[in-house]
């Protein structure tokens, strides 16, 4: 896999799977699932803390990983910008997974506010990875604003519906030069494989793993799905045909 690195903001990664750290039953499960996924980049959220001295910390469980703080739960550009600044002050990274949510039923992005926040954060030196619709026009605008990647959704966050519009993702891939990371909606390993087969550069998921009956096993399945999808993309799939095409020789049959 090292001959085919995933390059993001000038850095190479072996894994094309980025994983979230929410919804696990405890830190041990978080640690085990994250390890089984093979991911090197993991997302975290920024929240008000209750002081709990001496309690085991998420950061200890995630030592050695590249942290990607998100602005999940933000409904305005201003909230997302403030959250990103706090994340940076926490001291570990310039990365931010920018989410500005439009409404709580769909959790779809507010495209206008996402773009406005992206412009501010890029200017402040953040490496901005925006969660966006599977919309090539929006993807291009985010790239032009200086985002280091675009992260179109496959389906609503936490829905597990898989890739609802593969044709749009292909259009996004055609529209931008920055990496395209499918973010949200992946439900099982074949969804992850499909994203990579389409040519997407990576996949980010949380509930697809944490919401499985056996999260650690699903994390491994997702890792394999991503690897299989990437190899299939590089291999170049055969053309689709309407009619059958025999695999065995049609001559030399017994009579």
């Amino acid at each position: 896999m090292n001959s085919d690195p995933f390059v993001l903001a000038g850095k190479s990664y072996r894994s094309r799977l980025l994983v979230g750290t929410g919804k696990y039953k405890d830190l041990d499960e978080t640690r085990a699932a994250t390890k089984a996924s093979g991911a090197e980049i993991v997302t975290v959220a920024v929240r008000r803390l209750d002081p709990k001295p001496g309690e085991p910390s998420l950061l200890d469980a995630l030592a050695g990983y590249t942290l990607l703080p998100n602005t999940a739960g933000c409904y305005t550009a201003d909230e997302a910008i403030r959250t990103a600044r706090l994340a940076r002050e926490l001291g570990m990274t310039e990365f931010v997974k920018l989410e500005v949510i439009g409404d709580e039923i769909t959790l779809f992005p507010d495209a206008e506010a996402t773009l406005a926040a992206a412009r501010v954060l890029v200017k402040e030196g953040f490496v901005v990875l925006p969660y966006t619709n599977d919309d090539p026009i929006m993807a291009k605008k985010l790239e032009d604003a200086g985002c280091a990647a675009v992260m179109p959704l496959a389906a609503p966050i936490g829905s597990g519906l898989g890739i609802r519009n593969p044709y749009n993702l292909r259009m996004v891939l055609d529209a931008v030069k920055v990496p395209v990371i499918v973010d949200a909606g992946v439900g099982t390993a074949s969804d992850a494989a499909e994203a990579l087969e389409l040519g997407c550069h990576a996949v980010l998921m949380n509930t697809g793993i944490a919401g499985a009956k056996h999260p650690v096993l699903m994390a491994e399945a997702m890792r394999l799905g991503v690897e299989a999808g990437r190899k299939a993309f590089l291999a170049g799939r055969m053309p689709r045909r309407l009619h059958a095409h025999a695999s065995s020789p049609e001559v030399g049959l017994i009579e």
Partner: protein
């Protein structure tokens, strides 16, 4: 004086610093970020950053998320 920390009123000695606030509330200063009235307080200034009556503070950290 009173300030608001994560939405709750907290009583502090007048002129207390951010560092004193964090210590009093038993936050691990190395693991939090602090915002005062919508502006981030840089970590290196916790000792000298003095709070004022009515300041609104957010004390945040990383938690699991997707």
């Amino acid at each position: 004086m009173q300030v608001t920390v994560n939405g709750k009123l907290v009583e502090l000695p007048a002129n207390a610093s951010v560092a004193e606030l964090l210590a009093r509330l038993k936050f691990d200063a190395a693991r939090v970020a602090v915002e005062r009235n919508h502006e981030v307080v840089p970590r290196r200034t916790y000792g000298e950053a003095r709070l004022s009556e009515g300041d609104r503070l957010e004390v945040v950290g990383f938690v699991g998320g997707g």
